[in-house]
Symmetry: C3
Subunit: 482 residues, 3 copies
């Protein structure tokens, strides 16, 4: 009986590696934070002095009040949204929500440092000064790794996940620096830097870690009724708060306002086309929870890079319309195809929800940016929305469009190459990952409680009887045959 000897082929003992990684890492974080991280002028106790010096009349001008509500929404998306979306497997809900929690808590600290070095480092003092926007960006950075986790769900050990996160955050910070600072792309909601990168990063890792005999765990690779309802908690919190995700670090005023509106309508549109294609793909038109849980979100992913742009509400509707179809089609056709032909096992289907819509979002932003005109944006609006300031002041919208497309390619390349390398690192047999016939099972890394049957003493009694019965039945068998 499998559950009494769950570790058949591989050693999933992580009592040394997991605590060691956590402790070493956390101590390193304390030291690095001590050396580098300080409050910025808006979160430091010198704020009253700073306010006077800058002629700021109201505390309401502190960036905290512009961004904190969006920050909290993003925070919910990272921990409850991604976490519960991954509880859909019948016996991997602990791992889905629990390891998601671990990855994000681990990753956000490293993200504060990595992104800080690239974006918030003061070269005079050698310090990183952080405020609310850094927290949002750290959460964003974790999102990339959580997307990658979606492809690996149920097939890796927590220690491997920390390795994925460590490299993921590092790669993220570098590609983000190249895309946002060097190429000077605009990507408020992270279609390229988060979703395209995270998606292809996860897919590449999963491709390298291909498991020949995964069908031996097939009986656990599916949902039960209530695990699908749990996953809807994740879906809905992602769906509802996506306008905050795409507007969280947009420009104050019209930028945040427009990003929220665009995302809101794009998402609504995705729901309808996802439902339509889901129904079309079943013999009698029944809906599939997998599509409702995932493809309804595709519009939000694809709106990311152009959320702040004057894409117009109907433009946003069209984006959602197409991505809802493409994403559902991906779940019905492409994922099975990839698994069969490309040997690519993608547990959550991140190819359809993040990789492809993220890539599309990048290219859409290229088109929308290239089509920007001064009459639509106003002179000042064009400069601030496309960021054509400083040394980029002479860039035309058309050129900006080209760079947006280039940025998308950079994100994909980083994801694929980085993922492949990390995949090979994870193949070293020291990480305590489960055997092929032991995947998608919380028993491996969690103390799982006894089953529902033991709730009532009566039922326990019945169970007891059942075992007895079985013995009896077997003897009856003999009786009958004799």
């Amino acid at each position: 009986f499998r559950q009494y000897q769950p570790f058949r082929h591989r050693d999933t003992y992580i009592r040394v590696s997991l605590p060691a990684v956590c402790f070493v890492w956390q101590i390193a974080m304390v030291v690095l934070f001590g050396v580098f991280i300080r409050y910025n002028e808006e979160s430091d106790a010198h704020w009253p002095e700073y306010k006077k010096k800058q002629n700021i009349t109201s505390d309401a001008e502190n960036d905290f009040y512009y961004r904190y509500p969006s920050f909290q929404d993003v925070h919910v998306m990272i921990f409850v949204g991604f976490g519960f979306l991954m509880t859909f497997l019948k016996r991997y809900s602990f791992g889905g929500v629990g390891f998601n929690f671990l990855i994000a808590a681990f990753g956000l600290q490293w993200a504060l440092l990595m992104q800080g070095w690239f974006h918030s480092l003061d070269y005079n003092t050698g310090k990183i000064y952080i405020g609310i926007e850094n927290l949002i960006n750290a959460d964003f950075c974790c999102a990339g790794c959580l997307i990658a986790y979606g492809a690996l769900l149920g097939k890796v050990s927590p220690v491997q996940l920390l390795v994925v996160t460590l490299f993921g955050i590092t790669l993220f910070a570098v590609e983000e620096y190249i895309i946002l600072n060097l190429l000077h792309c605009r990507d408020a909601g992270g279609s390229m830097v988060i979703h395209a990168f995270g998606g292809y990063y996860g897919l590449a890792i999963s491709w390298v870690l291909y498991r020949q005999n995964l069908n031996q765990s097939k009986h656990l690779q599916g949902s039960v009724y209530h695990s699908d309802v749990f996953a809807m908690i994740g879906t809905l919190f992602l769906w509802m708060f996506w306008p905050s995700f795409n507007s969280a670090i947009a420009n104050h005023g019209d930028g945040q306002h427009r990003a929220a509106i665009n995302t809101y309508v794009a998402l609504a549109s995705s729901v309808l086309t996802a439902v339509a294609v889901s129904s079309l793909s079943h013999r009698t038109g029944k809906l599939d929870m997998v599509h409702i849980q995932n493809a309804t979100l595709a519009g939000g992913v694809a709106m990311g890079a152009s959320a702040e742009f004057m894409i117009t509400p109907y433009g946003a509707l069209i984006v959602g319309f197409c991505c809802g179809i493409i994403s559902t089609f991906g779940f019905v056709v492409v994922t099975p195809f990839l698994e069969r032909k490309l040997k690519l096992q993608d547990t959550c289907g991140i190819h359809n929800l993040h990789a492809v819509p993220g890539m599309l979002g990048g290219f859409i932003s290229a088109i929308v940016a290239a089509a920007a005109t001064e009459s639509v944006y106003s002179k000042e609006g064009l400069v601030s929305t496309l960021g054509l300031e400083g040394k980029f002041a002479n860039r035309s919208p058309g050129t900006q469009g080209g760079y947006q497309a280039a940025g998308t390619c950079v994100a994909i390349a980083f994801g694929l190459v980085g993922g492949a390398i990390v995949g090979f690192i994870l193949k070293i047999p020291i990480w305590g990952d489960p055997a092929d016939d032991n995947c998608f099972d919380d028993e491996v890394y969690w103390e799982v409680p006894e089953d529902e049957e033991t709730i009532h003493p009566v039922l326990e009694y019945n169970n007891h009887m059942t075992h007895k019965q079985q013995d009896i039945t077997e003897s009856n068998f003999t009786l009958e045959q004799s």
Copy 2:
């Protein structure tokens, strides 16, 4: 065995109708948005110019920052609140949360247009200019249809729900225009325009769609332990965010502030009286989850129309006190009575949670408005709170009270008449609705995963044995009797 032949009497094939409606509708939305909908001055890239022209000194004055946190709370209420409240049935959780999602995503687009034509249309350009307040109102508009869904839960097809939503949103926009613009009622939290309308709309539809043999589905019309816990997620998010619901479109400053306080205390009061009556209604004082899930919210519904008024905190407590009692009493006595005598099947008991408290809320607002005095409100406060400006400047508080009562009646009338008509449309046998013995079952419209029993191979083995056993038992039977 029912589950292998689930479509006994009626054809629930929706593979043509559901995708067709979704696609046609979504394309229509794209076209209509393209013709009509644009960003308003606060979400348009011309905002920096506008700011200068209007002498606005800070981006914090953008309405986005006044209303976005409340908008997100309302959004959570619509999708998670209403959605999870309807997961309480043992085998209709997918339909509860999934169709809720579909209705709202479908409805909010149409609401942006319908409400836009009535409230935000610029007659010079022929365009609707939208901002954050439009998004909140679109969500409100959906709430009316979701309330109606509560009465129909488990008994209609998704195509029928889209018809209910299409007409519901349309009727909503018209009655709202009559009540808020022509009668010039105040209804910040929508006691009349949302709850009374939505409640009676759903009841009228359900009354027309009466199912004689619904008791054939009786075994599925109830909860199981965990479905009741899921429903509590819905209840709590509705309960917690109701202060945001009632204050979301209230006046800036004291208006929003007061609406939140009034709703907060009214809801607290409802909880205690709902618990008291629930306990009283059981032989040994046990509580009933149905009451806790629903009647605790009645105070929020009833506070809607007078949330912004100077009802005083103890006034709000009294409102919650009475509505908690009335609503619980409704669940214990009125709903069974309506079903038996009036042939009115109301799955979620919206009569007790929305229809009656909404109506009461309208009349309460009439009394509170009529009692308003300049000494309590201040001159300026009275004008802005009761909206006695422009052509309504000469209206006295007493007259305003009369109009509040009239508005409540208009909302109920629209609900009843509109619902009856929509009900008859839904009786046309083309919508793929389930048979009487096939209600409250996700199997009809969803691919439902296998049951919990199959989690462990061991258990599968046991199941296998059980079937064998049964055969054996039967032969034993013969053996014994022989």
Copy 3:
């Protein structure tokens, strides 16, 4: 069979006492609110006048906009966070989330009054003037009682819980007045006034109510798979919104900003050390859901009192680091020890999550306050952060540190002494509490729905068969033996 005669030794009839307490209490609240509670100048309709008089130029200066988003987050923590955290027991989820709801709705009204008398009473008019900050404080006040409920979960009747709440809120308001006003401690996130007080209050009550034969309910004192997933909803909402909890009533501007950052990083750090110690404490390194659900939050508790201080981000990391370890260690070693040696039954382990980290948080704040210097805080920052104004203007940071430590001791003393007294009151045998062999069971106070087995008629048929089978088996038994 237990479930057909669930009240063996004690009378759990609460049909008189529960409704009576709720009604009497709610009527008392209406009367007291009528006498005492009014809107403050920011929520009163006179706000436009007040604004002019005070030269306030923008509605954005209304405190509502500074604090409402944080208030809503705190509200979610109280109702969903604490509520779902307590759903982890296999058959006490209704009681966990439902009684939590009742306690908080009951408590917040009394808290508005008690805290109002101490903090917001105008001695000229004899009225309490309330605004958004009072609502946050009322929620905080409830948190103390909900923490205490954690120790009592499953072992008390709802009437007893209302008694615990009534005294708990009263004690809270007094100790808070002593600590914040007389000793003039700083405690933005309530490490001392909420967590240390609430923790020791609950422990003292539970110690007095020791149940000798509680092991007779042992079969229900544990989780099942899905109840652990429900509990993660609670954990995550507490974890995510803790930055709002600790910053909700901090100073505008840098105060709130810094409190949020400090809490964010402390919590991340707790997750890693909790995971590490949890893994270490299991033979093969498996994680325990109890630790993930609870100990990950310890950093937030301990950061409470010094959230607003310039503890620096790495200081916050160290706080989270230590508390994650201490808290997990508590669950592994201390709680079983306390139960065995001190006869202290602590269902949720509040000793490890609230009592000890709260106490530590108080002492940490003493150290951080004592170490405060003008160069780190700026002159103005030091005054506003440590509150060294008015009659406390001459207090040095060192002295303030001493008072912080004294405040922590006061909170613990109030908790222990108050809890012991309340415990003896609860021993009076009139409250309808369950017998020792009847604990942790929703059947006692809730109408619990039938079990999952009855979902499909087929299964019902099977069940039916099983009973028949059993009879047969028994006769077979005879047959075989004969």
